[in-house]
């Protein structure tokens, strides 16, 4: 696609529920990132994929968070047993690693609200 697409745009769920957030990167971008942005904060790194594999998942806060990218394109961020503290905007970004410009292209984010 022309840009990074994230769905859903907004998700409201109850504490303890399971949620999935989807990211469709720019075609041809091999690198994909998930960031979390809490209210009034800058984004916080969660995980980075190079192709299908998670090259760095050091930002995932705990084992309730998991992400996959099975075919090296679309990625899904999965959150189990959601807690109120998980409420945030989850941003996805992609880049062409070969270009090595350091520039990331972001989607509009998925706003998660846990009640």
């Amino acid at each position: 696609g022309a840009g990074v697409s994230q769905t859903p745009s907004n998700k409201v769920t109850e504490k303890g529920k399971y949620v999935e957030l989807r990211c469709d990167p720019i075609s041809g971008h091999t690198a994909l990132y998930w960031y979390r942005q809490s209210l009034g904060q800058g984004p916080e790194f969660l995980i980075y994929f190079q192709g299908t594999g998670a090259a760095d998942d050091s930002g995932l806060p705990n084992d309730r968070f998991f992400a996959v990218r099975p075919e090296g394109s679309v990625s899904t961020l999965k959150i189990q047993r959601t807690e109120r503290g998980d409420s945030a905007v989850y941003l996805c970004a992609s880049s062409r690693v070969a270009a090595n410009t350091g520039e990331l292209f972001f989607g509009e984010g998925s706003r998660l609200t846990v009640l």
């Binding site: 009034g40 904060q41 980075y48 350091g102 520039e103």
Partner: protein, 119 residues
């Protein structure tokens, strides 16, 4: 560890005037990238301008320019002829520029500066 500090939580400027947003950072790396991203209410982070640390010349993109002071670890953004559409959150960000294994291109972000352009 790298840190990015934006000391101005909020700024305002009159339309057509010039405003400067501050950013300082801390790193032991010699090669890195610095960025200013804009985040309007739509939430999408949009790259405003990018600077490579090994380049001494300050980056410029139309009305946007930076003052990059490597020794002082300072990276300020100047917006000239401010427009109403410039109203947004502005984030300064840092990225290591190591190549090959070990460089995951993780961005380290400041807390942002909320800029209001007034008519």
């Amino acid at each position: 560890a790298q840190t990015v500090t934006q000391s101005q939580p909020e700024m305002s400027v009159q339309e057509a005037e010039t405003v400067t947003l501050s950013c300082t950072y801390d790193t032991s790396e010699n090669n890195y990238y610095l960025f200013w991203y804009k985040q309007p209410p739509s939430r999408q982070m949009i790259l405003v301008i990018r600077q490579e640390a090994y380049k001494q010349q300050n980056a410029t993109e139309n009305r946007f320019s930076v003052n990059f002071q490597k020794a002082a670890k300072s990276f300020s953004l100047k917006i000239s002829d401010s427009q109403l559409g410039d109203t947004a959150m502005y984030f300064c960000a840092f990225m290591k520029a190591r190549y090959g294994a070990g460089n995951n291109r993780k961005l380290i972000w400041g807390l942002g500066t909320s800029l209001a352009v007034n008519p």
